[in-house]
Amino acid sequence: MTAVKFGVVVFPGSNCDHDAYHILKHVMHQDARYLWHKDSSLEHVDVVILPGGFSYGDYLRCGAIARFSPIMKEVISFANSGGTVIGICNGFQVLCEAGLLPGVLLKNDNMNFVCEFVNLRVENPSTRFTAMCRQGEVLRIPIAHGDGNYYADAETLKQLETGGRVLFRYCEKDGSVTTAANPNGSINNIAGIMNEQGNVMGLMPHPERAADPEIGPTDGQKIFQSLMHCIVTDTHIHEFAAIERS
């Protein structure tokens, strides 16, 4: 299988960049490289990953300063021309601040920094991020954040829900979506969403922390495998839609 080129953006304060790089390069055996925040080239990567961490110390608001890094200009135009972008945790916050994803991530409603494994229900397997998952499948992936309480206004929320753009929801082991399974107060238990065009995803959980068999569960691999599969076979979102309809 041809290797997919992943670019992991490194902001000052990123701290999950090495985890993502390690998983992609050494566990998934793909072509992974770091992209420095001051660079202005994405080096022709297939997928851009905005990793977790505390870019710019979370000054002002999470992701607010990172959004103005030189590399983000390139990431925004890459995304707008259909390039695949994933924001994990702080990366999700950066994508919201950059306007590539709607809504915002507020402080957790319980005021705690929550670091634990959670159950995630796959809400839409017909995307390039989830193609290797089954509808309703429950993935076990950890979260680690203090500002993961997803919020969007009623109109935006409706568009996300009816457009199949909510990809993951916090749930119980059996897949039921309950208030008790919601670790941060996110509206509708939302853990991950994508944009309307289906090429940009943000999620609070860390798939790269559940992907190395040496250290634990590997459910996170499914997200990277989905991308690898879709990029190598050149499957696009409209084709998923066609598959679903037929």
Partner: protein, 89 residues
């Protein structure tokens, strides 16, 4: 030569009324523990000062508004207000 002056912008950023403010709630709880039981509600926000060197108060206000709407506040969840005053020599 264009004459410029220093203007002081004082900006307040607050969470929108519809947004839950868990920090405000925690502070309210602490105030109750202090015995200040008449405090009804607490909302936490940000206060930002900027010094602007420009030709007119209108221009200083325009710069402040742009700074607020493009960076200092996230209008999805926050409101902002500000005052701009010319520095007294």
């Amino acid at each position: 030569m264009v004459n410029t002056s220093t203007y002081h912008a004082r900006i307040t950023v607050t969470l929108r009324k519809s947004i839950l403010d868990p920090q405000g709630k925690a502070i309210h709880h602490a105030l109750e523990n202090l015995g200040l039981s008449s405090v009804e509600d607490v909302r936490l926000g940000k206060y930002i000062e900027m010094k602007i060197q420009t030709g007119s108060k209108e221009e200083a206000e325009r710069v402040t508004r742009e700074a607020c709407s493009r960076l200092l506040a996230n209008v999805v969840m926050e409101d902002f207000s500000f005052t701009v005053e010319k520095e007294q020599l």
